[in-house]
Symmetry: C2
Subunit: 227 residues, 2 copies
DNA sequence: TGAATAGTGTCTTTCAGACAATATTCT
DNA sequence: AGAATATTGTCTGAAAGACACTATTCA
């Protein structure tokens, strides 16, 4: 019996000790579809960036450490929950982050590829299913679910985009994440009235048609994002 | 360096090993207010039910084990996230559950008390602040936040109530959780149209005024709960 | 000029909130 | 009958969806 009512502060005899692995799901929006960044391991299976928690280290710091190598210190990480280990003596903590696709496209190697992601799982561009490492499918499912749930609560959406973006690009991100198309006038009205957007005065260039106005996030925004 | 791109399946030299503690926040609605069940430890500080994860044990099973003693095997547990340990070699996983107050009132001892909970923290009935054990405040804050966020997504609300309940009681739960009063006709219309409620045909008794119709949850309900 | 998309205006529908009117039970 | 609450109906206003119309850039 290891049930306790008080704050646990001393190990019990029967309690196990575990390796704690932090795993990070990296989202991006590419060509109107939600993508996730996967890396191939030695066994040829695909997984996500991860790190082992070290003694006296905070969970968020371990997650930041796993990301810093690729994305610099500014990635916005959001915890999505704890998962059972793949091994008996492991526990996994999931995080998610989002990035503008152009940030990483240049540095992609053979070992790192984007795969599209929806409710049915992860697929390569040619439509074939990704052969995922153990436990990764569960992680991706929960990450997608959390992303959809919290899209209207945080500034997370804007991490999919460069610092200046058009309303069309922002709408495409929403559509990619939610997996459905949205009403354009309604989307514009909601977002512009929400107070989260600030016009830059600049226009898009080089698109062969009427250029869109560009916006940036208003950092001191009040209240929630519209859905 | 412990960054890895592949699925972690073997311990690295520098990785720490941790005790994994599962902590459960028990909610109840009492006299129109949201309450949480706290237990006093040896040091006189107040915390929540917890258990140590054992080797080869699933997280959800450890949480269920911590609850089974008090609530039987049927408690609905929902994970709310991972938290940094109070000790250097500890990681905590938070869960929450809800119960009808009358379920537990009879078995309360001096060591177990309800405290009211809102954004400002936990307080005793007389208004004094609860002296919480380390890390518990953070846990309660996130539990409340998760409860509010997911009140409309799950059948979690109904765990606050006995199997048969009136619309007024259900509305009181919503109001206690959200910390604000709601519009009665709108609440009725939303809930009745949602398909989540099934009339029992029974009426309340012994209240000294017009008795309310009683409802139960329709288990095969479709779609989301209204907010 | 034509193609393609940006941005806006209007109508309709849906739904929450406010308020009031009626119904039912017990004392 | 009177108190107290349940239940329902109606009006109003806010916001989303559908649709069409105008505006602007480049080839």
């Amino acid at each position: 019996m290891t049930e306790r009512r008080d704050t646990p502060d001393s190990p019990t005899a029967t309690a196990g000790r575990f390796l704690v692995t932090v795993q990070i799901v990296v989202f991006a929006s590419r060509e109107g579809k939600l993508n996730t960044l996967l890396s191939r391991n030695a066994a040829g299976l695909w997984g996500v960036a991860s790190a082992q928690l070290e003694k006296s280290e905070q969970l968020d710091d371990a997650a930041a450490r796993a990301m810093r190598v690729r994305f610099g210190p500014s990635a916005l990480l959001r915890q999505i929950g704890a998962f059972n280990g793949v091994d008996r003596d492991q526990v996994r903590i999931g995080y998610m982050t989002a990035t503008s696709a152009q940030n990483v496209d240049c540095s992609l190697s053979e070992q790192d590829q984007f795969a599209s992601l929806d409710d049915r799982g992860a697929r390569w561009a040619n439509g074939s299913k990704v052969r995922l490492a153990p436990g990764v499918s569960e992680l991706l499912r929960r990450a997608l679910s959390e992303l959809r749930l919290h899209l209207d609560l945080t500034e997370f959406v804007f991490r999919f985009l460069p610092p200046e973006f058009s309303l069309r690009e922002l709408q495409h991100v929403h559509e990619a994440v939610r997996g459905q198309s949205l009403n354009k006038p309604a989307f514009r009205k909601r977002l512009l009235q929400s107070g989260w957007l600030e016009p830059t005065g600049e226009l898009e260039t080089g698109k062969g048609f009427r250029p869109a106005e560009l916006y940036r996030v208003r950092r001191n925004a009040h209240g929630r994002m519209p859905a």
